[in-house]
Symmetry: C2
Subunit: 339 residues, 2 copies
């Protein structure tokens, strides 16, 4: 029998739970016969949703987790106290190696804390980064780190570059991922203390393809595949990306509604625009992996719809098949020996 | 006789020099009879441009500066060596109080260095911030600091908040400017070391209207008037703003060109879109002031057209009329006494 890839999915997390996570899981198992999903959450509620989807197969198991962590709850406290929440139960499945990965659209803070506290870091990983894919003119780039651990050290950033390169190569299929560090100018001598110290380390790192600094204005052009920065800056980039794109879209839609002529024109451009902007939608690729853990944790958007959940589950399958954690482990071991 | 406001303009700076700065100056003096402009740069070239504009008035004086600082030159060296460059000559006019302000589209680095080294900081100002206006759904916000001095201290950020509030109130006419600090979450306990230390200081600062943290996604919505951050983060926000907006526009235009139907639709929405997006164009308001100097220095975009130069000159006039530097001086003196 073929090896099964087991993915736990938080059925209670996000704005559209449980309907969308359940729908996403049903779609994912329909696409891949070798994937098994554990839907974690309030059993009765999930079973009701599965009925709505008319799912009657054996690739989905419901795992009961009666408690729910709310988005606003202080994460550390929530993880410690709500042992029966979908996030804690789901992460424990990964910890106990009953699942290979866990996907959640729930509280970012709780997912990040749970990943470190429950699943735990791989040996040699100094800090596990959250690495969302952001859309660019040429496809997607990995923005690493956007997590919750700010004030990073240079050695963290070098590991981000190494882990990010492995991810982009083996999960996203980019042959030689270009690594760049976010900076305020192209020259090596530019930057803050962290960037100045990290730059030569990246330059001398043998197993990445470092292309130098990237200014924020060039990120949307897709001029690097792995964009390295510390989490505060990464968070600003990620949030501004989402915020500015949605504000501009709203402003453009309003513009199209100003006259009868522009309304008619708007209807005529709509299908073409939709198609173009679809390419600018990173949810096509799944969620943001939290790398460097003993197992995979993927954080999807809080407003994730079924499609993003499906894509995240398939992303977990690729991650497992490509043995990303083995590759990270080997890479970091070699690096630490070289030092 | 009415008091003249004297503004020096770098006629050699930027991608469209000398034509656009000269044109911008001619337009500015046409709008305000009490403004006198010193056009600084290669005399013959400027006089030729003035002829093209058919300018024959007495509100413009040409000041010869035969040397030109290129964008790629190391700024400190350029300022030190090219004493006869338009930037050094223009800044010296401000230093010697022959001009009230200096406007340049030239090398950012040279303008920032020149501002500090030639014009000099006001007494009490720890660090002069560069504060561009960025467009939002509701108008514009002041993003302070986007300069070249990274790794700021909390006390710098508090002064940025104070200076930015004065600017937004008295130059932009915002009655009670809302001040927010860029952060990765809304709660007070979130953030990196700098933000955590600065937050309570802003909260306790009596003469600003502090509204707390702002996440990057809310910046385009216009949820604060004065957005405080250190220069590395500010630079990332500013550049990403410009880069993402222009990339999205390009992608949308491409989308409109995909079929005959969408092309016709595109032509029909174009006027309405142009109008809407005009509101999303900060050059309508002038350039970025470098605050806290003994005189005003305004940096316009490298690709500034005449309109931005004109608006920057008018902005200098308002700055002078509203006695912004007097207000900053008084505010910082009071603050330092309170400590």
């Amino acid at each position: 029998m073929q090896e099964q890839i087991k993915v736990a999915v938080d059925a209670m997390g996000g704005d559209h739970a449980p309907a969308q996570p359940v729908k996403g899981a049903v779609e994912a198992v329909a696409r891949r016969k070798d994937v098994h999903v554990f839907l974690v959450g309030q059993k009765g509620v999930i079973e009701e949703e599965l009925k709505q989807c008319a799912y009657a197969g054996d690739q989905i198991t419901v795992v009961d987790a009666p408690e729910v962590i709310e988005t606003a709850e202080p994460p550390v406290m929530a993880i410690r106290r709500k042992k029966q929440s979908s996030i804690v139960v789901g992460m424990n499945l990964v910890k106990q190696q009953e699942a290979d990965a866990f996907v959640s659209a729930g509280s970012s803070g709780a997912v990040l804390v749970g990943g470190q506290v429950i699943v735990g870091r791989m040996k040699g990983v100094e800090r596990p980064p959250l690495a969302p894919l952001i859309p660019t003119e040429k496809g997607v780039s990995l923005l690493i780190d956007c997590g919750a651990n700010v004030d990073a050290r240079p050695s963290h950033l070098v590991q981000f570059a190494q882990m990010g390169s492995i991810y982009m190569k083996h999960v996203m299929g980019v042959e030689q991922p270009r690594v760049a560090i976010v900076n305020i100018g192209a020259e090596e001598e530019k930057g803050n203390a962290l960037v100045k110290e990290t730059f030569p380390m990246l330059k001398n790192c043998p197993d990445i393809h470092f292309v130098g600094s990237i200014e924020a204005r060039d990120i949307p052009k897709g001029e690097a595949d792995v964009i390295v920065c510390e989490a505060f800056v990464g968070n600003v980039i990620l949030k501004l990306y989402e915020g500015l794109a949605s504000t501009l879209m709203r402003v453009i839609k309003q513009g199209m509604m100003t006259s009868l002529k522009s309304k008619i024109g708007g209807l005529m451009v709509k299908p073409a625009l939709k198609q173009t902007l679809k390419a600018f939608d990173a949810t096509e690729y799944g969620g943001a992996p939290l790398l460097g853990l003993k197992g995979l944790v993927v954080k999807t958007h809080g407003n994730a719809m079924a499609k993003e959940v499906t894509n995240s589950i398939l992303q977990c399958a690729t991650f497992h098949e490509q043995e990303i954690n083995e590759r990270i482990k080997n890479k970091l071991e070699i690096s630490s020996k070289e030092e």
